[in-house]
Amino acid sequence: MSDTPATKTGFSLRGPGMSKFLEVYGIVLVVVVMMAVLAAIKPEVFLSAQNLTNILKQNASLALLALGMYVVIVTAGIDLSVGSVMGLAMVALAMASKAGVPWPLVLLIGPAIGLAVGWVNGIGLTVLKLPHPFIMTLGTLNVARGLTYLISNGAPISGLQPEVRYIGQAYFGFGLPPPAGLPASLILVAVCAVGLWFFLEKTNMGRHIFAIGGNPHAARVSGINVDRTLVVVYMISGFMAGLSGLLLAGRTDSGFPNAGIGIELDAIAAVIIGGASFFGGRGTVLGVLAGVLIMGILRNGLNINNVSAFWQQILIGLVIIIAVYIDVLRRRAAVRR
């Protein structure tokens, strides 16, 4: 980060200060505008405590996946295995829960599976030196999904211990009529988001992660242990996917082997909509959460207006393209100035 131009010329609201503000908070404005539009179209439903609770509950597991994916994308990488890791975690923890494994251990199964698959991804990338993370994680996407079918025989496993379900299902009503309230899953997302922000912004390894994304060669030359850092990055992504599986299993009271198919693409979309660069080195935790909310609010808004699910898919596709195009325009303007 070089701050010399700003300190020399000083801040003005219309100058770099404003563009800096838009860079960081512009995406949050999009969320606010979307909410305002939906509130205007269907005020009695959209702004109800119940509906706002729904939006939070329905997007918590995607938020965790996207946070993990964000760390990977900051290094200019990609992790396609997260949806499969989520499914594997769900089925494994549901089986353990059914088998009467004590619940504190069951809670650890999802994250542990995530860390393990993440470690394998990192090793494939750094020790086997596979040319691109796309390849390694495409491999583990299939391996983990295959394992999921194998151990479950393709059938869902339902009926989890209440303690295992807690984080995915509980909410704090604060006197609101059910099911409105603050979902426990939101608290987990908030803790993960703040923890990740602290890790990326305030620790050496976090700064190394950005450095690797910006320029891996320079990072290596400047003495950063790139390989070790990358392994940690993929383990974070796997860990988040495992936690996400714990949430969805708790929410649905089931480990079903088709869970999370294709959700890695939603996670990638949320990160990109949230302003992170596919080429690494750029993005914010706040932007990722906003990206998740934009997709979530869009789906919710179309659902409560009874719009066909087919339209939802079309619109989300368009939003991805438009969001990134706006980013391109903004960047171009910034370079000219």
Binding site: N54, Y149, A155
Partner: protein, 302 residues
Amino acid sequence: MNKLLLTGVALGALLAMAGSANAAYVLGMKGPGAGNPFWAAVEQGAKDKGAELGVDVIVVAPPAESDVQAQITQIEDLIAQKVDGIALAPTDPNALAPVVDAAKAAGIPVVFVDTRGTNEGTTFIGTNNEVGAALAADYMCKNLPAGSEVAILQGLISQSTGQARAEGAKKGLEGCGLKVVAEQTAEWDRAKGLAVTENILAGNPNIKGIFGSNDNMALGAVEALKAAAKLQDVMVVGFDANPDAAASILAGEMTASVAQAPGNMGGLGIQALVDLKAGKTLEPWIDTGTVLVTKDNAADYQ
């Protein structure tokens, strides 16, 4: 040595195939029988019938439920093996239509089981999903006050099964004076069934009944209703009577479901192929029947 062993094994396999004098009929399922009780029952029905009639029954299925490409490949390979007949549950009727035509062109009789294909003049052996959904609707009509608000969770409406169940339910529910206030797809998925029900409840707080076009979605709806503390006030009826649903019905959570007769699909499928091979003509649609499953008979489906 290894090479020799491999050659031996390959030769043995070839001899075993050639050596079997019985006619070989194929059951092509949408997903693996291991684990999915529905397909396991179809498979069992077919094998029992095969043993009864003294014919070989070969069962094939894509490794994952609804893998269209894998199923097409399997059927193509079976045509090359010149089997005596194929009873096929098409993962995607339109996508499978060309290979079904290819099989017929190769002189191999084909019938559809479970899901109707698009090929003209091909017998379908399976549930009348519209009738089954109407059975569920009729149950809701009898047990809800006239004029109650109800919702339908649709399956994939790009599939004929999804369409037939949604339509059968809608006609039945509206026909007896219930008010369908929401129809949305949850794509056969439990997590989506949960989310869609949450959204429906947000917009329609007075809902009294929910029909899930399959049990997975209905069980998702049950979770949403539990969270909203409304399970006591809202009747949930599913379709398929899978073991999870049966357990839920016995626990007093889901109210009812509709069972198909998968064993009949497998058995009647093989019977139909044998009949075709013997030169008989078949009805265009052989209904395998549906049964309403409530607390009284749910124990049979666990």
